[in-house]
C-alpha cells in the first residue's frame, strides 16, 4: 500500500515535468483597478499576480492597484483569509472592480500555521497538520465547541455523545483508534497547555490546529500519540481598534423522539407477552375495553409521558462583544460572551424556581501583548469562564428514565384529590420529579492565566532569543440547590389509598465544593531564527515541567525537554528534526523518561525551474515524516502500579456484639514494575498541490502507524487469588489515507467554492493477550479495536426467526433459554457440534467507530448575499438496536413502541422476535440480528447571510453589518429504517433527544 502511493506520486511528478513552458518576454499595457469586499469596502494588501509571469503588486489602503499586463493574461488576486480571485485581462483595462470574499477551510500556502511554540507558513510545514481558522466556524449557539468541528478537517473524527444542555459532549478521535487499552482521546491544548476547550466561545479562537504525524507530535513526547488539538486564541492588532458584537437567537428542536404506545395497545401486547410464556393474561377484557374507551381515566389511565414532558423546541441564545486594537507598545484583544441554553422539559416551573435542565455560561478573555523594551515582549493572557448547569432535583437521568420508561397506564399523573399518582411498581412520578424534588445547581468556575515573555539575545548571536512561558490555571466546582421528597398514592381495589414515599418540606441540598485543582506549567528555553544566503536555520529548545495540584491526591507531575531544528534552503527544500525527552511520575523511578525523535522532509517541487511555468500547476509540495511518540494516558489506576504495596486500611469487618467495625488491610493488585507508555511509530507521506491558477487546491496524505507496548491483561488462573496490573504486551497497526480538495470559481458575479475532505483509517490488532484455549474464530487478534457499544464484537450469527415448532425440532438445540419457541431468533451452528451455545459466537469487525468519515462544503457569494452549507458523513460504522427494541424492564414486560412489530402467530412477518417476559436469554443474546448500519450523511450546517450596503452602515459608523440565518443538524440520511439518529441511536428514547438548531443572528463591526 505504501509502495503503491510512492509509485503514484513519482509517476505524477514525472508526468508534470514534461510541461516545461519556456519563459516569455514581458510586455503589455498598464492595467488598474480596485479590490473590494461584498459590501464595497476596499481591501488593502491583496497580492495581484500576472499568471505565468513574474510581475506582481499589492493593493494600497484604498484597495487600488496597477500593473502591466496584456490582453489574455490572467490576474490572480491572493491574500490571507480571502478566496483567490481571477480576472481575464482585456485590452487597456482601467478601473477593474474585483469583489473578493473570505476564504473557507484550509488556507493558502502563505498562511500561518500554529505549531508547538512557533508558527510556520503552510508551505514550510512538512508534517501532517490540518488547520482551521476560528472565523471559519459557523456562529451557531452550541454549548460544546467540538460539535462545530465535525466534518471540517481531514483526520479529525468528531461525534456527539450527549445532547442535554451543557452536556452535549463529543468524542474526538484523530484518524482512528490505535490503542485498545485507553480511550484514544487526543491531547487538547489551548495556547500550548493542556486545557479543556469545548467550553470556550468560538469568538475567542484564532485557529484550531490538528497535529497528526510524528514530526509534530514528538515535541510532546510520551503524551501525544493520540494526536493533538492545538487551540490558539485571538490577539490584538496594532493596525486599528475594532469592536464587534455578535448575537444569535434560536431554537433547538428534537429530531427523533419516542412515540409511546397508548394504554390499550400496551395492555394488549403485555397480555400477548404473558401468553407467549404460558402465563395467564393480566388485563381482562373489561380492562382492555376501559383503556380503549378511556372511560375511567383514574382507574384505567392513559398517559403519553413523552408528550406531556418534552417540548418541541427550546430557546438558545448567545451574545459576544469583542474589542481589539492597541499601539505599537500595547495590543489587546478582549472578549465577553454570554451563552444561554434552555432545556426541553415542560411543566418545570414551580413558584420558587425552575427545574428545567439548563445551561448558562459566561466567557471572558483578555489577551495583552506588551512590548516592554525593543528586546523584551510580554504576553499576558487571562481567560475565564463561569458555567452554571441546572437540572431537576431527581437528576436529569432519573427524570428521563421515568419519562421514557413508564408504561402509559402506570398511574394517573394526578389522582382525583390532586395528589401525585403512583403505584406499587412505579413510584417515580415525572410531574413530582419536576415540581416536588427541588433542583440541582452545578457551577464551574475556571480561570486560565498565561505569561509569555520573549527577550532577544542578538547581542550573543544574531537571531537568538530566550523565552519564558508560565501558566496558572485554577478550576473549581460548586454544587448546591434545593431538595425535597414527595409521596405518591395508589388507589386500591376497594378504594383505599396506598401511600409510597414520604413527603418532606423543601430544604437546601447539601452543597459541596469539588475538584479545586490548580495547574502550573512552565516552558522555558531559547529560540534561534536566522537566514543566511538562502539558508534558513531555526532552532527551538524548551525545558518543561508541569504540576497539577488537588488537595485530595498527590500532585501529578511531568518534566522534560523538547527541541526542534528546522533548516530550509531557498524556501524550497525543508528538513525538520524534532525530539523530546519527557518523563512522567507514574512509572518506576529510572523508567520514567523516554526519548521521542522524529524527522520530516519537504520539497516544493513546483519551484524547480523545470516546473515553474508548468501551465496548470501552480504549487506542488511533497513531504514525509517518520518518528516516535508516546501515550501514557492508558488508564492504569494510581501512581504506583509498578510497586508491590499494601493498603493499611481496606475494608472492615464488624465483629462483636456491638458491631464495632475492625479495620481490614490487604495487598494491592500485583504490580507491573516494567509498566511503561505506549509507543507509536508513525509514517506519513503527503502531497499538497494547487492547480489551474489556484482554483483547485488539493492535499493527500497516506499514514501508517505501528503502536506497541499497549497494556493488555496478563493471562493467569484465578487461583492466584489477586488481581494484577496489566502488562505492556499489545501491538496494533493503523493505516489509511486522508485528504481534501477545494475548488473555487467565479461565474460572473457569483463566486462558488466547493470543498471536501475524506479520511479512511482502519485499525488492526497485531498482538493482544488472549486465552490459549479460545477457538481461533473467537480471537481478537487480526480484528479491529473496540466494537459496537452495548454489544461488543463477539457475537452469534442469526438466521432469521423460527416460524414453527417443526423448524425448531429440525435445527440444532439452542442453549440460551430453557424453551425455544416459534418467534425466537434462530442462530447458526458455527462449530457444527449440533448445539448452539456461546461456542458459536464469532469475533467480528463490527464497530461503531467509523472507518471512513468525510465532509463537503459548498459556499457561494453573490453581491451582498452569501451562502454556505456543510454536509458530514461517516461510513463503515455499525450500531445495535437491541437496546431500543427490548427497552423496558420486568415491570413493563419489555413492551414499547417497537413491540407491535414483533413476531406473533398473527404477525408472522414481524421483524423482531416474539414478545416474552421470562427466560428471554435466547433473544437477548449478543448477535448480528440487532445490528444496523450506523452510516449517515448529515446536513451539518447551512447558512444564508446578507451584508448591508456600507453606505447604510457608514451612517452609524459601522464597518459592517451582516444578518444571517443558519441551521445546524437539519437533516439526516441513514439506512436504519427507524426514526433515530444513528450518531446517538438512543437519544430521544432513553436519554435527552438529539436536537437541531435554527438560529438568526447579526454580526456588527465597528
Amino acid at each position: 500500500m505504501k509502495l503503491y502511493y510512492n509509485c503514484l506520486i513519482l509517476t505524477v511528478l514525472l508526468f508534470l515535468m514534461h510541461f516545461n513552458v519556456p519563459a516569455q518576454s514581458f510586455e503589455g499595457s498598464l492595467v488598474s483597478g480596485m479590490v473590494t469586499d461584498a459590501t464595497d469596502a476596499p481591501v488593502p494588501g491583496v497580492r495581484v499576480d500576472v499568471q505565468e509571469k513574474d510581475d506582481y503588486t499589492f493593493t494600497d489602503e484604498t484597495g487600488r492597484f496597477s500593473l502591466r499586463a496584456s490582453q489574455g493574461d490572467v490576474l490572480v488576486f491572493t491574500k490571507k483569509e480571502i478566496l483567490t480571485s481571477f480576472y481575464d485581462v482585456l485590452r487597456h483595462d482601467q478601473n477593474i472592480r474585483i469583489v473578493v470574499r473570505a476564504s473557507i477551510a484550509e488556507g493558502g500556502e502563505e498562511d500561518d500555521v500554529f505549531i508547538p511554540f512557533d508558527t510556520r507558513k503552510r508551505r514550510a510545514v512538512n508534517s501532517s497538520i490540518a488547520a482551521l481558522k476560528g472565523s471559519d466556524l459557523p456562529q451557531i449557539p452550541s454549548s460544546s465547541l467540538t460539535n462545530l468541528l465535525s466534518g471540517r478537517l481531514p483526520g479529525l473524527n468528531v461525534w456527539q455523545t450527549g445532547s442535554a444542555p451543557g452536556r452535549d459532549e463529543t468524542t474526538i478521535v484523530i484518524r482512528n483508534r490505535a490503542s485498545f487499552a485507553g480511550s484514544n482521546v487526543p491531547l487538547f491544548l489551548v495556547d500550548g497547555v493542556a486545557r479543556d476547550f469545548s467550553d470556550m466561545d468560538v469568538n475567542e479562537i484564532e485557529a484550531i490546529t490538528v497535529l497528526k504525524d510524528a514530526a509534530s507530535l514528538a515535541w510532546y513526547g510520551n503524551r501525544a500519540a493520540n494526536g493533538v488539538l492545538l487551540i490558539t486564541t485571538k490577539r490584538g492588532s496594532a493596525e486599528q481598534t475594532r469592536f464587534t458584537y455578535d448575537a444569535q437567537i434560536g431554537s433547538q428542536i428534537p429530531t427523533a423522539l419516542a412515540k409511546p404506545l397508548n394504554s390499550y395497545a400496551f395492555a394488549t401486547l403485555y397480555n400477548q407477552a404473558l401468553q407467549n410464556d404460558g402465563f395467564e393474561p393480566l388485563y381482562t377484557s373489561e380492562a382492555l375495553n376501559a383503556y380503549r374507551t378511556n372511560s375511567d381515566p383514574y382507574g384505567y389511565p392513559d398517559n403519553n409521558f413523552v408528550e406531556s414532558f418534552i417540548k418541541n423546541n427550546a430557546l438558545v441564545q448567545r451574545h459576544v462583544l469583542t474589542a481589539s486594537g492597541g499601539s505599537k507598545a500595547i495590543r489587546y484583544f478582549t472578549s465577553l460572551s454570554y451563552f444561554d441554553q434552555n432545556g426541553l422539559y415542560k411543566n418545570a416551573y414551580t413558584p420558587l424556581f425552575n427545574t428545567n435542565i439548563g445551561y448558562q455560561r459566561f466567557n471572558l478573555r483578555t489577551n495583552l501583548d506588551v512590548q516592554v523594551t525593543p528586546q523584551l515582549s510580554v504576553q499576558l493572557d487571562m481567560g475565564g469562564r463561569v458555567e452554571d448547569r441546572r437540572e431537576p432535583g431527581s437528576t436529569n437521568n432519573s427524570f428521563l428514565g421515568t419519562v421514557f420508561g413508564l408504561p402509559p397506564n402506570a398511574f394517573p399523573m394526578l389522582n382525583k384529590d390532586g395528589s401525585y399518582g403512583g403505584s406499587n411498581l412505579f413510584r417515580d412520578n415525572p410531574l413530582a420529579q419536576l415540581k416536588s424534588q427541588g433542583y440541582i445547581s452545578d457551577v464551574t468556575r475556571v480561570l486560565l492565566g498565561t505569561v509569555n515573555a520573549t527577550h532577544k539575545l542578538d547581542f550573543l548571536t544574531k537571531g537568538l532569543s530566550a523565552n519564558l512561558f508560565y501558566t496558572f490555571d485554577i478550576n473549581g466546582r460548586y454544587t448546591s440547590g434545593r431538595s425535597q421528597t414527595y409521596e405518591v398514592y395508589e388507589q386500591g381495589l376497594d378504594g383505599e389509598l396506598f401511600r409510597y414515599g414520604n413527603q418532606t418540606p423543601l430544604g437546601y441540598r447539601t452543597s459541596a465544593f469539588s475538584s479545586p485543582t490548580r495547574i502550573n506549567e512552565l516552558w522555558t528555553g531559547i529560540d534561534y531564527d536566522r537566514i543566511v544566503k538562502g539558508h534558513h536555520f531555526r532552532g527551538t529548545l524548551r525545558y518543561q515541567q508541569a504540576t497539577s495540584f488537588d488537595p485530595v491526591r498527590l500532585a501529578d507531575k511531568r518534566q522534560g525537554f523538547s527541541g526542534r531544528m528546522s533548516y530550509s534552503f531557498i524556501d524550497r527544500y525543508y528538513v525538520d528534526l524534532v525530539t523530546s525527552y519527557t518523563g512522567v511520575d507514574n512509572y518506576m523511578p529510572g523508567k520514567q523518561f523516554g526519548f521521542f525523535p522524529a524527522v520530516a522532509v519537504g520539497w516544493v517541487v513546483s519551484d524547480e525551474k523545470s516546473l515553474r511555468n508548468a501551465g496548470f500547476l501552480n504549487y506542488l509540495k511533497i513531504s514525509g515524516s517518520y518518528g516516535k511518540s508516546g501515550n501514557n494516558s492508558t488508564g492504569e489506576a494510581g501512581k504506583f502500579a509498578y510497586a508491590h504495596l499494601y493498603n493499611v486500611t481496606n475494608g472492615s469487618y464488624p465483629f462483636g456484639t456491638s458491631f464495632g467495625a475492625q479495620q481490614g488491610a490487604s495487598e494491592r493488585a500485583l504490580p507491573n514494575p516494567d509498566l511503561t507508555w505506549e509507543k507509536a511509530y508513525k509514517t506519513d507521506v503527503g502531497l499538497d498541490a494547487k492547480l489551474f491558477g489556484n482554483a483547485l487546491q488539493l492535499s493527500a496524505n497516506y499514514f501508517n502507524e505501528r503502536r506497541n507496548d499497549i497494556l493488555t491483561n496478563p493471562i493467569y488462573p484465578s487461583i492466584i487469588g489477586l488481581a494484577s496490573y496489566r502488562v505492556n504486551d499489545g501491538e496494533t497497526r493503523l493505516r489509511g489515507f486522508e485528504g481534501f480538495v477545494n475548488l473555487t470559481h467565479a461565474f460572473g458575479e457569483v463566486v462558488l467554492s466547493l470543498g471536501g475532505n475524506y479520511t479512511y483509517a482502519k485499525s488492526k490488532i497485531i498482538r493482544i493477550n488472549e486465552s490459549s484455549g479460545l477457538a481461533p474464530y473467537q480471537l481478537q487478534k487480526g480484528h479491529n479495536i473496540a466494537g459496537v457499544t452495548g454489544m461488543g464484537k463477539l457475537m452469534l450469527q442469526s438466521d432469521g426467526i423460527f416460524q414453527s415448532q417443526a423448524e425448531i425440532d429440525n435445527s440444532p438445540v439452542q442453549r440460551f433459554a430453557g424453551k425455544v419457541q416459534p418467534g425466537d431468533i434462530r442462530y447458526l451452528d458455527n462449530n457444527d457440534d449440533g448445539v448452539i451455545d456461546n461456542y458459536d459466537r464469532v469475533m467480528t469487525d463490527y464497530n461503531d467507530t467509523p472507518t471512513t468519515y468525510y465532509g463537503f462544503n459548498l459556499s457561494g457569494q453573490y453581491r451582498a448575499f452569501d451562502f454556505s452549507l456543510l454536509m458530514q458523513g461517516v461510513s463503515g460504522r455499525t450500531i445495535q438496536i437491541r437496546t431500543l427494541v427490548f427497552a423496558g424492564s420486568n415491570n413493563t414486560g419489555y413492551i414499547n413502541q417497537f413491540s407491535p412489530e414483533a413476531w406473533s402467530t398473527d404477525n408472522p412477518d414481524g421483524v423482531y422476535p416474539r414478545l416474552g417476559i421470562s427466560d428471554r436469554a435466547n433473544n437477548t443474546a449478543d448477535s448480528d440480528f440487532w445490528l444496523r448500519s450506523g452510516n449517515y450523511l448529515r446536513l451539518k450546517s447551512v447558512e444564508l447571510g446578507y451584508t448591508l450596503p456600507h453606505q447604510l452602515t457608514d451612517k452609524i459608523n459601522s464597518r459592517g453589518l451582516r444578518v444571517y440565518i443558519n441551521g445546524f443538524n437539519l437533516l439526516n440520511f441513514n439506512k436504519t429504517g427507524i426514526d433515530i439518529d444513528p450518531e446517538m441511536p438512543f437519544a430521544g428514547y432513553n436519554s435527552y433527544p438529539y436536537v437541531k438548531t435554527i438560529t438568526a443572528g447579526i454580526n456588527l463591526r465597528f
Binding site: 413510584r427 493498603n647 493499611v648 469487618y653 488491610a665 487469588g721
Partner: protein
C-alpha cells in the same frame, strides 16, 4: 556557519544529557499504601490482613439481584422470571453461563489468609500471644473457603501457600479426597488454636472463628464426603467419621438449641445466640425485606416464593405427614394445625406481618398475577424477615442480621443422618433429631422406624428445619436425588375467594430441568481456557 553548528550541538547535548533519575518526579511517600516491611510492622495492618479474610465469607440473602439459592432448587421460585438463578432451573447452565463467581471469590479469600499465615510469625502483632489464635482463625477460613469450592466443584486445586507469578500456576486439580483431607487438616490446625465458643471471646471479638466452628466445618465436610454423591460404594467408615465429628462438637457442650425457633435469626437484640456456631458479620440492612416481603408492603419485590412442595413437606402439628390418611390434613383449610415452623418460615394467605394481613388469594393485594413481582406460587418467604425493618421511606430502619453459616440444629441433624447410616436408628439417632423437633414444638418421631424410614424423616426434617438456608440445594446433590426432586415441575396454590371462603387450586408454576452433570458446578470456561491442566467437570 560555525555559530549555527555550536547552537545545534548545544541543543543536542541538553537533549541527551538529562535527568534519568529526576528528583522532581519522585515522591517521598506512597499516598497511603505502604511497603511490605512497613505493613507487617504495623499491628493493625497485620491483624487487618486476617480481618479482611472474613469479608470473603458470602451471604445468601441476595445472591443474584434479589434471588436466593433456594430459588435454584425445589424450595422456591423467584418472582423475577428473568433472574439469573433460572440458569440452573432451565438447564442452560454451562461453563460459559455460570451462576456465580465462587471459583474466583474463594481463591481470593484463600489468598488473604495465606498471606497472613506466611507472615504472621514475623508480624509485629501485640500482644504476640494473640498470634496462635489469629493463625487458628486463618486456618479455619482457609478450610472453609476450600469447602465452599469442594461442595460446588468437587476436588479443586489446593491453595495451601501464597502463589506467585514466578511459579507454574497451571496446576491439575486435586482429588475429592485430597481436598477433603486438606480441609480436615486446616480444621484440626484451627481447633487446637481457637477458643471453644464465641462466649470465650471478648464482646468486641465475637463472630471470630471458634473451635466449635472448626468442628462444625469438619462435621459438614465429612458428612458431604460420606454422602452418596461422593461415596458411591457407601463406605461405612466415612459415615462413621462423619458421625464422630458431629458428636465431638455435641459433646463439647459449647452450643445448645435456642428455645425459640423464630428468634434464631433475629439478631438486632441478641447477637450470637447460643445456637449460632458461626455466622457472617451482622450488617444493618433492610434489603432482605425489600427483596422478599409481599408486594403490598411498601413496594417490596416479593422475590423468594416458596413452592407448594416445600409447604407440603411441613408435617401436621401431630407429627404426621400431610399425605398420611390419619393426619387430619384438610385441603380446604391447608394451613391449620401445621408444624409451627411453617408459619415462621412462609407467608401464606392470612399470615400477619407488620399488623397487616397477607392476601395471596388471586384478587388480593399480594395475590398471584397482581403485578409482575407478585408471588408466582401463592407464597412468600418469611424466614429472616424482620418486623422492625422499614424501607422506601425517607429514613429507613435497618436491622442487623448475619447470614448463619453453622448452627447447632444442623450438627444434630448431621449426627442423626450419619449415625443412622452406621448403626441404624439407635437411640442416639432418635435423640438428635427429636431435640430439633421438640424445640420446634413438634412431637417426637414414632418409635420403630426402619433405617430407610428414618432416613427419609431425617431428610425431611433437614428440609423443613433448614429451609432457605442454602442446605437443600446442596443436600439434593449429595443425596443424588436431583432427577426426582429437581427434574420436575414445581407447583403453587391458586386461592380464589368466593362467598363462603376460599377455593384452593394447585397449579404447576414452571417446569424444571435437571441433568446428571448438574450435580456439580461447571468450572468457568475462562479458567479452562487460561490453563492446560485444569480439567472440567463431566458433562460440561
Amino acid at each position: 556557519m560555525k555559530k549555527h553548528t555550536t547552537v545545534l550541538a548545544v541543543l543536542t547535548l541538553i537533549g541527551v544529557t538529562s535527568c534519568e533519575e529526576s528528583t522532581f518526579l519522585r515522591f517521598d511517600h506512597y499516598d497511603g499504601p505502604v511497603t511490605e516491611e512497613q505493613y507487617w510492622n504495623i499491628n493493625t495492618a497485620a491483624r487487618g490482613q486476617l480481618n479482611r479474610g472474613y469479608t470473603f465469607l458470602q451471604e445468601g440473602y441476595n445472591r443474584y439481584d434479589g434471588a436466593m439459592l433456594a430459588a435454584g432448587c425445589d424450595e422456591a421460585v423467584n418472582s423475577n422470571l428473568n433472574s439469573e438463578i433460572n440458569i440452573v432451573n432451565k438447564g442452560t447452565w454451562s461453563s460459559l453461563r455460570t451462576i456465580d463467581g465462587n471459583y474466583e471469590l474463594n481463591y481470593n479469600g484463600i489468598r488473604q489468609v495465606n498471606v497472613f499465615l506466611a507472615n504472621a510469625d514475623r508480624a509485629n502483632i501485640t500482644p504476640a500471644t494473640d498470634i496462635p489464635r489469629l493463625k487458628g482463625e486463618a486456618f479455619f477460613l482457609r478450610g472453609y473457603f476450600h469447602f465452599e469450592l469442594l461442595k460446588r466443584y468437587g476436588g479443586v486445586i489446593i491453595a495451601d501457600r501464597v502463589f506467585t507469578f514466578s511459579e507454574n500456576l497451571d496446576l491439575p486439580r486435586s482429588t475429592f479426597k485430597e481436598t477433603v483431607d486438606q480441609i480436615l487438616r486446616d480444621c484440626d490446625s484451627a481447633a487446637i488454636r481457637l477458643p471453644l465458643s464465641p462466649s470465650q471471646y471478648g464482646a468486641g471479638d465475637r463472630g471470630r472463628a471458634t473451635k466449635a466452628a472448626a468442628l462444625a466445618l469438619k462435621s459438614r465436610t465429612l458428612l458431604y464426603a460420606a454422602s452418596p454423591l461422593n461415596n458411591p460404594d457407601n463406605d461405612p467408615e466415612l459415615w462413621q467419621k462423619a458421625a464422630d465429628a458431629a458428636k465431638e462438637l455435641i459433646d463439647t457442650g459449647a452450643h445448645s438449641l435456642l428455645a425459640s425457633y423464630s428468634n434464631i435469626f433475629n439478631f438486632s437484640t441478641a447477637a450470637y445466640n447460643t445456637e449460632v456456631i458461626f455466622a457472617t458479620a451482622a450488617s444493618a440492612r433492610n434489603d432482605i425485606e425489600v427483596n422478599n416481603a409481599p408486594i403490598s408492603y411498601n413496594g417490596a419485590l416479593g422475590r423468594t416464593n416458596p413452592t407448594q412442595e416445600l409447604v407440603d413437606a411441613y408435617e401436621m402439628k401431630n407429627g404426621l405427614p400431610i399425605g398420611d390418611a390419619s393426619s387430619g390434613y384438610n385441603p380446604e383449610d391447608p394451613y391449620r394445625d401445621r408444624d409451627p415452623r411453617l408459619s415462621w418460615s412462609v407467608f401464606f394467605n392470612g399470615s400477619v406481618f407488620k399488623n397487616d394481613t397477607v392476601q395471596t388469594f388471586t384478587s388480593g393485594k399480594d395475590g398471584v398475577g397482581q403485578t409482575i413481582n407478585a408471588t408466582k406460587t401463592g407464597y412468600y418467604m418469611k424466614k429472616f424477615l424482620s418486623e422492625s425493618s422499614t424501607w422506601n421511606q425517607v429514613s429507613n430502619a435497618t436491622v442487623r442480621r448475619p447470614w448463619v453459616i453453622f448452627r447447632y440444629a444442623e450438627i444434630l441433624l448431621n449426627y442423626s443422618e450419619a449415625q443412622n447410616e452406621v448403626s441404624g436408628p439407635d437411640a442416639s439417632v432418635y435423640e438428635a433429631i427429636n431435640r430439633v423437633r421438640r424445640r420446634a414444638g413438634m412431637p417426637e418421631l414414632p418409635a420403630g422406624l426402619s433405617k430407610d424410614q428414618i432416613r427419609e424423616r431425617i431428610r425431611n426434617e433437614r428440609r423443613v428445619e433448614l429451609a432457605f438456608e442454602e442446605h437443600r440445594f446442596f443436600d439434593i446433590r449429595r443425596w443424588k436425588i436431583g432427577e426426582e426432586t429437581l427434574g420436575k415441575p414445581v407447583s403453587g396454590l391458586r386461592i380464589v375467594r368466593n362467598a363462603t371462603g376460599y377455593r384452593y387450586e394447585p397449579f404447576e408454576v414452571e417446569n424444571r430441568i435437571f441433568n446428571e452433570r448438574m450435580y456439580l458446578y461447571p468450572i468457568p470456561q475462562s479458567e479452562i481456557n487460561n490453563t492446560t491442566n485444569l480439567r472440567q467437570n463431566p458433562g460440561y
